[in-house]
């Protein structure tokens, strides 16, 4: 997995490439800890290059959705592929997260 971070207005856009699973979810968690501790609580995950996400990865997303909501920030997802979206549907997460078509739509919302 590779994560690139870019700030657009007051939103931290994290692009996640590759696989997010049991072996590496803590890399994403470390980054989310740092951001939220610095009160960077508007986060958009660009999932266009995410190839695989297991329940360990989903758990981290849910955990930080709660943290960020409690801090009155926004945690958004965008640009997921059809196969990844299916995993979000199976897990019931499509109804929990704000999910957008692409970065531009999310940033305008």
């Amino acid at each position: 997995m590779n994560i690139t971070k870019e700030k657009k207005d007051d939103i931290n856009v994290l692009k996640i490439e590759g696989r997010l699973d049991t072996t590496n979810y803590s890399d994403l968690e470390d980054l989310l800890v740092r951001l939220t501790e610095n009160n960077e609580i508007n986060i958009l995950l660009d999932l266009s290059a995410l190839e695989y996400i297991s329940s360990s990865g989903l758990r981290i997303l849910l955990k930080y959705l709660k943290v960020i909501k409690a801090a009155e920030g926004r945690f958004m997802l965008c640009a997921m592929t059809t196969d990844i979206r299916e995993i979000f549907e199976i897990s019931g997460f499509v109804n929990i997260f704000e999910i957008f078509e692409d970065q531009a739509t999310a940033l305008k919302s």
């Binding site: 297991s54 329940s55 758990r59 199976i90 897990s91």
Partner: protein
Amino acid sequence: MNKVVINIRNDVSELHEISAALEDVSGKWDLSAKSAMHINLALEEVITNIIFYGFNDKEEHRISIEFIKEKDGVKIIITDDGNPFDLPAAEDFMDKEKTSESREIGGLGIHFVKTLMDRMSYKRKDEKNILTLYKETV
């Protein structure tokens, strides 16, 4: 060749062996990327569960994973010498009465396995767990 067997240690760093094996069989058996991902997800859940909860000692154990090509799908047999499985019910996880914020996440793994696989069976034999998963691919 209609069978590929891998043998991994009880350590999560071995999970990449599963994705490597799946990449291998996907090419050989013409599996779709989606089917391969579903099998990978189910296996990651099963194997991490065995690694985290299967053993009471700190010894090294081996977990065998067999991929067998069948006419209309792939059978996967996972064998380990850990504690017997206690397969929890996944039904509670999708309980609509629960709100998103209070939903328990613990059952997500087993929910994945049951949803992504078409069949699943379990037996305990000679002090070993033998879990068989089946994914239809046509």
